[in-house]
């Protein structure tokens, strides 16, 4: 559809405006992470770019440097309050384990389930799809209290067993992600014509060989896109992580501890926040093409 010039200009302006609206807080956040405290808290004006950038916040949160030591080195004396509780390496490690683990579990189940839903006719198939969707209607907070009780009873909360902590979070994230992953994967499988399965069958492939050697490789992009969505959910999830485990602290929970009784450590908060956004950003860029396809084209069917 060819649009007239004024319409195109208007559309472009709107696009730029909307993008700017969404991007500005993120950019401001990233900017804050490299500002010295004096620039962040200037009481006379808003500081945009006229400050001497510093990586102190990253050094403390990502590399575990001691802030009091850094302050002394910088000749500031002992005036800076500081515990060593801002080292977030352990939180990042925990987050990576939980996010990758839960994504793996989710995708393993989702790929099989979605293939079955896409290819096999069985009783209750339609109902199953609706049930899967229904899972999304329920906000996590509605099931939080029973979940806490359950986790406590089965020994996945308030134990010193780190492994149980990991497994507990991975399981709940897999549970939360499974419906959307199944739906997404089903739409990718639906895009592969059934003739391809049949051709493989005639070529002599068993159902399993067809699945593993033909159909799944053909939806690789879809698998990657769905996995990224699951990863990002697990990576950014706060509520369940806060309540369901005491042994491990994922990055979002860790960041929240930077809000202290003596003040908010904006520098560390923004540094860790910015750093945490980077993996999601890269992954999304990598699978963007498939993601758009999966979320629009596929979801229009059925």
């Amino acid at each position: 559809m060819e649009q007239s010039l004024p319409v195109r200009i208007l559309r472009d302006i709107a696009a730029v405006f909307v993008t700017a609206l969404f991007m500005f807080p993120i950019l401001w956040w990233a900017l804050a992470s490299i500002k010295p405290i004096s620039a962040m808290f200037d009481k006379d004006r808003v500081v945009f770019f006229d400050f001497v950038p510093t990586l102190i916040n990253y050094g403390v949160t990502l590399l575990g440097m001691s802030r009091s030591q850094l302050a002394i080195d910088a000749g500031l004396g002992m005036g800076v309050a500081g515990t060593e509780a801002y080292d977030s390496r352990r939180a990042i490690f925990d987050s990576v384990i939980v996010a990758i683990g839960s994504t793996t579990i989710t995708m393993m189940l989702a790929v099989f389930a979605a293939y079955a839903l896409s290819r096999m006719a069985f009783k209750g198939r339609e109902g199953f799809l609706n049930w899967v969707l229904g899972q999304r209607f329920m906000p996590p907070i509605a099931i939080l209290i029973p979940l806490v009780a359950i986790y406590k009873t089965v020994g996945m909360r308030d134990t010193d067993n780190l492994i149980m902590g990991y497994i507990g979070l991975m399981m709940i994230y897999a549970l939360m992600n499974l419906p959307i992953a199944v739906l997404l994967m089903k739409s990718f499988f639906d895009d592969v014509p059934k003739d391809v399965d049949e051709a493989a069958m005639i070529d002599g492939a068993t159902r399993w060989q067809t699945f593993r050697k033909i159909v799944v490789p053909m939806v690789r992009g879809g698998v990657a896109a769905s996995a990224v969505l699951c990863f990002i959910f697990a990576w950014t999830e706060f509520l369940l992580s806060l309540f369901l485990t005491t042994d491990i602290r994922t990055v979002p929970v860790k960041i929240q501890t930077f809000v202290t009784s003596t003040g908010n450590e904006w520098g560390f908060i923004s540094a860790l926040g910015t750093a945490a956004a980077i993996p999601s950003f890269i992954f999304i860029l990598l699978v963007q093409r498939h993601l758009v396809r999966g979320l629009t084209l596929g979801s229009l069917k059925e």
Partner: protein
């Protein structure tokens, strides 16, 4: 190579019967085309032969062996699909060798077979490309290559050319025909394009609503259609079918408009009939009066559409006709080419 025998085969989807007891014998090495309008059950029949669809009733035999419950891969057939159904993530070479690999054939045999198929199909320069890097016609050839490397007993084609443009379709038509001449593999080919059927088939089977209407060689069904459906379906422009009543002088279409009949015919006086005459057998000349509607020159021929006793007829002539709309002319049927059908049953009167 093998013959295929279809005995009283039925197919139900739930309570709906879509194929109603079909009997068909496909000779060893024959090229049989299943022809019919959309929804007539061609694909269903083909897929039952392939084993992709269960058979509700009757028997299918390949090489004299009942295969109703045999898995597709054990039927020794190969199928080419309308949308090619290539494995998009595999190179052309791997697409073609997949079945041999699964059958655990030795590598040198696989290489040899793939090379042989690629040579026949002119695919040699493309072996290391992905299907998405090929044109429609090349993809079609890969699908055929995938079928021939296995040296199957029967080839099954389901409208393999309908995704190609007109020119390529004609070219591929010839290629498939040549491939068949060369390999002499029994072939069942599904299409709704009667030209494809006419040009390629040894035997045409015309289906409608899950029944066989007629089977025979292309010229046989063209020259001797068994009923009105076949008469209308085969041939383009299609046969003129004019409703009328048999009188002594011929068939009366309307008051004063009478088409001549051959000396001996089987119709009874006063019988309501449909008078069938192909456009190329109805030429300007001393005959029945008509009024011109349109004249379409095609180059070698003129297609004259005219009104004859209130019904439209088409006449094809190689003479140059220069007449205006509304002009009067006379059209004469070639009497030994007249087909008479019973108006009630639609069957040919013979």
């Amino acid at each position: 190579m093998a013959s295929v025998t279809i005995k009283n085969v039925k197919k139900n989807y739930g309570n709906l019967e879509v194929v109603h007891g079909i009997n068909l014998k496909i000779e060893d090495g024959a090229f049989v085309v299943l022809l019919g309008p959309s929804g007539c059950g061609k694909s269903t029949l083909l897929r039952m032969i392939a084993g992709l669809e269960s058979v509700t009733g009757g028997d299918i035999e390949i090489e004299g062996k009942r295969v109703n419950d045999v898995h597709p891969k054990d039927r020794n057939i190969a199928m080419v699909f309308q949308n090619y159904a290539l494995y998009a993530h595999m190179k052309v070479r791997d697409n073609m060798s997949f079945s041999l690999l699964l059958a655990k054939r030795p590598q040198n045999e696989i290489d040899e077979k793939v090379k042989w198929a690629a040579k026949i199909l002119n695919l040699e320069p493309y072996l290391d490309r992905y299907p998405r890097e090929l044109s429609g016609g090349q993809r079609q050839r890969v699908a055929m290559g995938r079928a021939i490397v296995r040296n199957p007993a029967v080839f099954l084609f389901d409208e393999p050319l309908s995704n190609l443009d007109a020119k390529l379709r004609v070219q591929m038509r010839t290629e498939i025909k040549e491939l068949h001449e060369r390999l002499k593999t029994t072939t069942v080919y599904v299409t709704h394009d009667q030209i494809e059927a006419m040009t390629m088939a040894d035997k045409i089977v015309i289906l409608r609503d899950g029944y066989i209407e007629q089977e025979g060689s292309p010229l046989d069904v063209y020259d001797h259609p068994a009923n009105l459906f076949v008469a209308e379906f085969i041939g383009s422009p299609s046969m003129n079918l004019l409703k009328g009543e048999v009188i002594t002088e011929g068939v009366r279409l309307a008051e004063g408009t009478v088409l001549a009949l051959p000396k001996s015919h089987k119709a009874k006086l006063g019988q309501k009939v449909v008078y069938g005459i192909r456009p190329e057998h109805l030429k300007p000349g001393k005959g029945t009066a008509a009024k011109i509607n349109v004249i379409e020159p095609t180059g070698p021929e003129m297609h004259i559409y005219a009104d004859m006793g209130g019904q439209e007829v088409c006449s094809i002539t190689s003479e140059r006709v220069h007449l205006a709309r509304g002009a009067d002319l006379q059209l004469a049927p070639q009497l030994d080419r007249v087909h008479l059908f019973d108006a009630e049953t639609g069957k040919v009167i013979a």
